[in-house]
């Protein structure tokens, strides 16, 4: 696990009609590493993450997850990935426990392991009080915890998280941040996108900045700040995407 990259993307390109959403995108996330994907709205973050998770097929380029090619062996590649998005919802008429059982069966987890894993995750994520209630009746925070449990259920080597703390309260947000750190500690590869610079500075071993579908800067937080000649990651980010003036005027 140590030497092989968790997930890697090579020369990805994706078009939606005439619009080029992502071009020449290259990325590698190693095991035991958290990589943050930063970019303004519409930069192509979600498209990149969806291509890496196998939801979208790139027009050109390739994705490999845990050594399995997403185009040639998609089932094996997807089996190694846990995907979570801030806007993913749950089956309203199923309870979190039923939903976890459903996805466990889709991932072909052995029944005994699945039972133990559901008990473990519902305990770890403090879900016992609502795990039997229909998802339609849960709060946003409870839903996102159920979603985390779904993404972590098969104990994937790679976690791809698309703005996972989006629109969550501080407690649930912190919960997710802690969960991400615990996965890194367990040697998993984590790639997540965020708008929150503080979150990126606190969590990420490396940061990749994208703008208009292309990588404009990457490295550790310290390297990026140093290269930009600015004092903070926010300033470095604004400089990288050429929006310093807009940033100042807002300030």
């Amino acid at each position: 696990m140590g030497h092989e990259p968790g997930v890697s993307a090579h020369a990805l390109e994706k078009r939606f009609g005439a619009v080029v959403a992502v071009r020449d995108f290259n990325l590698t996330v190693n095991h035991g590493e958290i990589v943050g994907l930063l970019g303004p709205n519409g930069a192509g973050k979600t498209t990149v993450l969806r291509m890496l998770a196998g939801i979208l097929t790139p027009d050109s380029g390739s994705v490999t997850a845990g050594g399995a090619s997403m185009s040639e062996n998609p089932l094996e590649a997807k089996r190694r990935i846990g995907f979570l998005s801030g806007d993913t919802q749950l089956y309203q008429r199923l309870s979190p426990r039923e939903m976890l059982r459903y996805f466990g069966q889709l991932y072909e987890l052995p029944p005994d392991f699945l039972r133990k894993r559901i008990a473990e995750l519902t305990g770890e994520l403090d879900m016992d009080s609502f795990a039997g209630r229909p998802c339609g009746t849960l709060s946003a925070g409870q839903k996102q915890r159920a979603n985390i449990a779904r993404a972590f259920l098969h104990d994937p080597d790679i976690l791809i998280l698309d703005e996972p703390t989006n629109a969550l309260d501080v407690i649930t947000g912190r919960f997710i941040v802690d969960a991400i750190r615990s996965r890194r500690a367990a040697g998993r590869a984590v790639l997540f996108s965020t708008h929150i610079m503080g979150e990126a500075e606190y969590l990420c071993d490396r940061v990749v900045m994208i703008h208009r579908g292309a990588v404009v800067e990457q490295g550790t937080v310290a390297e990026i700040v140093a290269r930009s000649g600015r004092k903070t990651l926010t300033d470095a980010f604004l400089a990288a995407i050429g929006a310093e003036d807009n940033g100042r005027s807002i300030q």
């Binding site: 969806r50 998770a53 097929t57 997807k78 995907f83 309203q92 069966q105 072909e108």
Partner: protein, 708 residues
Amino acid sequence: MRPRILWTIFRKEIRESLRDRRTITAMVVLPVLLYPMMILGISWLQNSEEEKTAAHASPVAVWGDATPQLLEALRAGHIEVRPSVAMPAQLAAQLQSGRVPPVRPKPEDPDESPQKPKKPEPDTPVTLAARPVLLNRSVDAVLVLWPDFAAQLSEGGLGHAAVLYDSARPASDKAHERVDAALTKFREQLLAAREREDGLRAGFAQAVEVGDANVAPPSRRAGFGLGMMLPFLLITMCLTPIFYAAIDSTAGEKERNTMQTLLCAPLRPLEIIGGKFLAVAAIGLVSAGVNITSMSLTMARISAGAFAGSVALHQYVLAFLLLIPIVLLTAGVFLAVSVFARDFKEGQNYLMPALMCMMLPCGVAIVPGIELNAVMSFAPVANIALLIKAVMMGEAAPDLSFLVIASSLLYTALAVAAAARVFSREAVLVGGSDTLRGFLGIDKPGAVRPGGAAAVLIFCVALVTAFYGSLLLQPYGALMQIAIVEVAFLLAPALLAVKMGHFSARETLLLRMPGWRGIAAAVLVGVSAGVVGAGVGMRLVRPPADFARALEKSLLMDNPHMPLAVLWLCIAILPAVCEELLFRGFILSGFRDLGKWAIPATALLFGLAHASIYRILPTFIVGLFITMLAWQTRSIVPSIIAHALNDGLIATLVHVRPSWLDMNSMREVPWTWIAAAVVVLALGFALISRRASLEAPHGHSLASAGAR
């Protein structure tokens, strides 16, 4: 496709649907309540109205001088004469003056169409005078007697009378019937009296007494009534829960943003659509079962008195079985359409036209006079509606039933292939829109050969156009019929699809020259496959004698003196070229991803294309051998040779009728012939057994992705 995954998705979809009030209401509550409320309610209302009418005498105005005997006959006929509604003075004067001619009875025209609007009768002084008293309901009918009525009767002449009524009012209609019956009885009594007075034999004046009797047994009469109504009701009621379940499991999933969790799970698109399709179809089938049960119990309840056990249980079971293709077809179509919608509301907007398109054809069963025939047997949905009607009346013909079921299953396969295709398009699943060219898989040139979905689509197009085309071309003679059907309806769709799909013609249609072994194998298969096919197939499903005669006639192109060379050209060579390029070319290429299963799949479609329950087995068996030839030699040429030899030899035998073969007395192919043919076949296949056969993925099109 992994069955366990299908089962998991199926169970989840069912569980979610069972927790959805809309689906439960449409699937169980509505049918359980609808039939008792509708059938028992309407029947109760109708009966109580009829009882009310029967209990009361019809109020009738009699204008003119009625004889005491006539008044007595009217009273005996449950009619209350209302002297208070008197004849208007103006009409009385007009009648007295003799200016108003009597109303003559109109002879009934049995050929008059009930649908054709009748010409309104011109107004006369009598109708003008009677209309107000009928419309204001002073009386239910007016009996007008011409001034000399009584005198004519007493003198042995012809008395004139007219009954005026309002056909739009049931009570007035009833009064008309009663007055008519009373007058008939009065006339019969009068005739009998006249015959007695004049010393004539009884019946002299009437001359002919005509009675009639309905020979339809109660079950048939009940089946006729039920058959008109049942298909529309049942199909409509089955479609409703499918409607909701299909939207919920596709557009609903997109709306709730749960689709992407499925797409990032290790699942094949076909497994997702397969699980959803099975769940939606199961909901439709449960609904069909609940509908049939509720309807049969309701009918048993109302028919307990009049038609005890009128429609047999097996007829309801057959009706249920016939709903299966409709349910599968609808589930496929609704899933394929609703997945384009981004939310539930949009799903309803998209599916409503599809629902109407499915419901309208059911209406044909309600139209009197429309029955299942060859033309209707390929009309989607309408064919099943008419077959249910025929089953209810106990007159479903095996050959037509086969055509209906086979064509319906084909349409279902097409709908499922379309749904699978849609589910493999990420633009639809994630973005919500797609182009037609993209959907058909012809937006990206470079694919070598078609996929399974394209193969099924082209087969359906060819089959339906060839079937209707041959019916339309019948008046133009066998030669024209064969030539146009083979070239325009069988070959052209395959060639067009190759061109539009930018497929490689060489790869798709197997345009390669075989070696001498391939040619030799083709000859051996060509002379023996038909013997095995006919020998085994016709023993299992024995065709009736008239079918065999019709087949012989068509093999001779309706002309026993047709030159043998023309027969070989039209019955053997032309069909061999056209049909082989379609079946062993396009369709076999489309199925190649199935591995060796492509051989029986292609042969099955070849058998189905012969559109007869008596021909499907023989043609399937022959098709198997010819497909194996193409598979093994990777060339279309041997299959064309074998096909042409098979058809040509049969046509020659029918044409020449050799003395050593008594075809009239021979009911089946002897086993010794079959055994010899098997040996020849084995020799043929031994010649090509070591050749490299068609292998699975050389390169496939995007169109195949959904069907894999």
